[in-house]
């Protein structure tokens, strides 16, 4: 199973990759913003996207809208990992096409639950 991790913070990308590794997922491609994310998505057969919200160049919300605009990605699982966790934020993210939401800070168990939930559809 291949993951695409999109975050402008190299620290967060590393944390997410380490967390995925602990959960048994080692096939990961990285991108530092939404624009890079679109390029990586075009070049790789990705099964799950994990994206931040606040990023330069293209935000996570803009990135997800762009991903969903392509019909073949209509059902691609997308997890948003962010500190933007007020109720209005979550509603905006879900409307943009996020499949599920992980609020920072998080534990590996939370990440496992959310991944299993998006994979279950």
């Amino acid at each position: 199973m291949k993951f695409l991790v999109v975050d402008d913070s190299s620290t967060m990308r590393r944390i997410l990759i380490n967390t995925l590794s602990k959960l048994g997922y080692s096939d990961v491609v990285e991108a530092a913003n939404g624009r890079e994310g679109i390029d990586r998505l075009a070049a790789n057969q990705v099964d799950v996207i994990i994206t931040d919200w606040n990023m330069p160049e293209m935000t996570g919300i803009e990135f997800i809208r762009s991903v969903r605009a392509d019909e073949k990605n209509a059902k691609l699982p997308v997890l948003m990992v962010t500190t933007n966790a007020a109720k209005d934020d979550i509603v905006e993210a879900l409307r943009a096409g996020v499949s599920n939401y992980v609020v920072k800070p998080f534990t590996p168990d939370t990440m496992r639950e959310k991944i299993e939930a998006v994979l279950a559809g």
Partner: protein, 157 residues
């Protein structure tokens, strides 16, 4: 201390504990919060995130270089001695997560805030002066032998 500022300080302390428990894996021992700016932490690494909304101000994270390396190493899963260029981004992310968690708790309790991106300053013998009329509350913690501090700086009005 005003009710809103006391609430924000309580939630800031709660947010710092959550971030260190979950993302650093190094629980914090809490000291007694100090009002005013008479006591300045011994810090070479300072992370800041501003907020604005029903209240406005700054969340500040202070640590020594050694503590910052330990934090970055724990977050990244690498020995602190090998941490170098990764440290500023890690401290920016820690500050962002603490301020972001506080922002969510405040917003959900009727005080909507927006927050800025984090800024990290690294150096020695510097002091940050706030020209606005502010109230400051410094929250000290111990992470094993290292002291770290989180400060809430809030506009008086």
């Amino acid at each position: 201390m005003s009710d809103v500022r006391q609430k924000a300080v309580d939630l800031l302390i709660e947010s710092a504990h959550e971030v260190f428990d979950m993302m650093v894996g190094r629980p914090l021992a809490q000291g007694v919060p100090i009002e005013g700016d008479a006591l300045r932490p011994k810090a070479n690494v300072v992370g800041t995130v501003s907020f604005a909304g029903s209240e406005s101000g700054v969340v500040v994270f202070y640590s020594t270089t050694e503590a910052a390396r330990q934090i970055a190493g724990s977050m990244l899963g690498m020995p602190a001695a090998e941490v170098n260029g990764e440290m500023p981004d890690a401290i920016g992310e820690i500050t962002n997560m603490i301020a972001g968690a506080l922002r969510t708790k405040m917003t959900d309790s009727g005080h909507p805030w927006a927050i800025s991106i984090p800024t990290v300053t690294i150096g020695s013998d510097f002091y940050t002066k706030y020209v606005s009329d502010v109230k400051r509350v410094l929250c000290p913690f111990r992470m094993d032998e290292e002291e770290i501090c989180v400060e809430l700086i809030m506009m008086k009005n």
